[in-house]
């Protein structure tokens, strides 16, 4: 339903997305997790046809977000991280206005709006002015708004942020209902446990790159087993990089000065074997050490919600 290929976005010199690729199947609930500034909102803006990528492609329902924005807009309901409401407008009129923007007939609107208010438990606030609603209620109304044209895909940017625990639970219940309705949902958060329960797939984004994807369990397992091996070389960095990259348990290798940094997920035995391999190849190693992985820091941040 959603396909992103090597997406890049530069703001001036700042590269917010560095070649992001991912795929979300029909009916899937995809949790997009990463610390603040990771590039979640940027990705979602591009999917919502509100921002042009610097390069790369993104498709929703097979439509190119840059070349066929009108077709994409019909398919998506987008809820930004921050949005305002009009004053002087009641909850019902608010939804009515957006429904009319989708060319929905007045008769049809009269039918769907009560249903939507019911779905987000705001039936009793039908005639209340929107700027008088609490933050949690506004958020739910915003969600109802993104549903007026019954879209197949929902793009929800940090819908739970700034909500108190009760409001969060209410929101989660609504999202479960939408999931049962078969909607494809991409939802972001900077806290993993917030999404863990309701997502089929989690994608971890950091510094504009997708660093891990998988089910919630896979993600937890992957991130806990991570280590970084630091190999200081005098020479022959390319050969050492090639050797390291060939190893199954090495995810990626980076060069930092004369030190090679390898993300390693293997056991201690495998680590020992790898060291022997490097030595046996006659590469000029000056030292071999293990350090905390970058992923580990990200993991701590998103699991504990540090820095939020």
């Amino acid at each position: 339903m959603i396909q992103i290929d090597n997406l890049r976005k530069r703001y001036g010199k700042m590269e917010a997305l560095k070649g992001l690729s991912l795929e979300i199947g029909k009916g899937q609930v995809f949790g997009f997790v990463g610390p603040n500034g990771a590039g979640k909102s940027t990705t979602m803006l591009i999917l919502a046809t509100l921002l042009e990528p610097t390069s790369g492609k993104a498709y929703v329902g097979g439509f190119d977000v840059v070349k066929q924005p009108r077709e994409v807009r019909r398919l998506i309901g987008y809820m930004p991280d921050f949005f305002g409401v009009y004053d002087n407008v009641t909850a019902e009129e608010y939804l009515d206005f957006y429904a009319s923007n989708y060319d929905i007939s007045p008769q049809e609107r009269k039918e769907i709006i009560p249903q939507l208010l019911e779905l987000v438990s705001l039936s009793h606030k039908r005639d209340a002015f929107v700027d008088s609603l609490s933050r949690g209620m506004k958020q739910r109304l915003g969600l109802a708004r993104s549903l007026v044209h019954n879209p197949d895909v929902l793009i929800l940017d940090e819908p739970a942020s700034g909500l108190d625990p009760r409001a969060r639970i209410e929101l989660r219940e609504i999202l479960k209902e939408l999931r049962n309705m078969g909607k494809t949902i991409i939802i972001s958060s900077h806290i993993l446990p917030e999404l863990a329960e309701m997502c089929d797939v989690i994608g971890i984004i950091e510094g504009g790159e997708l660093v891990a994807t998988g089910s919630v369990d896979e993600i937890y397992a992957k991130m806990q087993g991570y280590k970084v091996l630091k190999v200081r070389m005098l020479d022959q960095w390319e050969e050492a990089t090639a050797l390291l990259t060939r190893h199954d348990k090495v995810a990626s290798v980076k060069k930092d000065g004369n030190v090679l940094l390898a993300d390693f997920t293997g056991t201690d035995q495998e680590q020992a074997a790898l060291l022997q391999q490097l030595a046996a190849a006659g590469l000029p190693m000056a030292s071999f050490a293990e350090g905390e992985g970058n992923l580990e820091e990200i993991f701590l941040e998103i699991v504990k919600g540090a820095g939020s």
Binding site: L50, R70, Y86, N88, N101
Partner: protein, 294 residues
Amino acid sequence: MNVIRKLRNPVLINEWKVRMRSNRAAWVTTLYLLVLGGIVLTFIFLRINFENRYDPDISREIFMFLSILQFGMICLFTPGLTAGVISGERERQTLSVLLTTNLTATKLILGKWLASLSFMIYLVMASLPLYGIVFLYGGISPIQLVQVFGLYLVTMLGLGSVGVLFSTLMKRTGVSIVLTYAFLFAYTAGTFFLYVVAQEMIDYQRRMANLHAMQPNPVWPEWLLSLNPLAVGLHVFEEGVFNRFHDLKAAGNLPFWMIDPYWLYILFFVLLTIGSLELSIYLIKPVRKRLWKR
């Protein structure tokens, strides 16, 4: 059905709905007409007392006074009414959501533009009966009445579209409003100033070249002045600066290239309106077709 759907503008309908709910519009209208009517009656009273007779000239004077007053009001309020319509949505953080709906950029811009001007258009139209009173006294032609209202409408729509353009370009409403007023001022003062400079230079050149006085002056400085709202306003009452035009017209031998300044003004403002709106529509699209390759 399809045509109706194409023309139906949800933004416009919604703004009307919200605005009509409060009594404010009714109060403002009443107050406006009372003030305007009061001024007219005072004017009539004073003039008649002073002159001790009815005179079509008085009627003409009142008509001009009223027209200039309303024209001033239009110029004063149009930038404030229109220069915040898009930037206001942006500041309120409602624009991005609006742009992800099926609403086209064209409908959004046209809806906002018309909605912001509709109350003022209504106010001006509501003042027509006042003109009717003046009209009864004579001294002005129905054509002049129509021309004055045409001038109002075209100026409101044109200046309003410039406000919308600045509102689309600028992030902040405050900046946009200041720029729209600055545009109005620079435009009005600029066309007049350039006209004066051009005339002076032409005169100077002629004196230097000892050209015969019978040879007519070039017409382009007058075209330039035709774009000036104040000059054209006076022109409707056959006052002011376009003497050559009036003389030639009265003599019945108007050359074809001496276009009536009124129509030149209308034409220019229609083009200005279309241009500003088209540009706004292009600029508001978050993802747009490239006019050139980077």
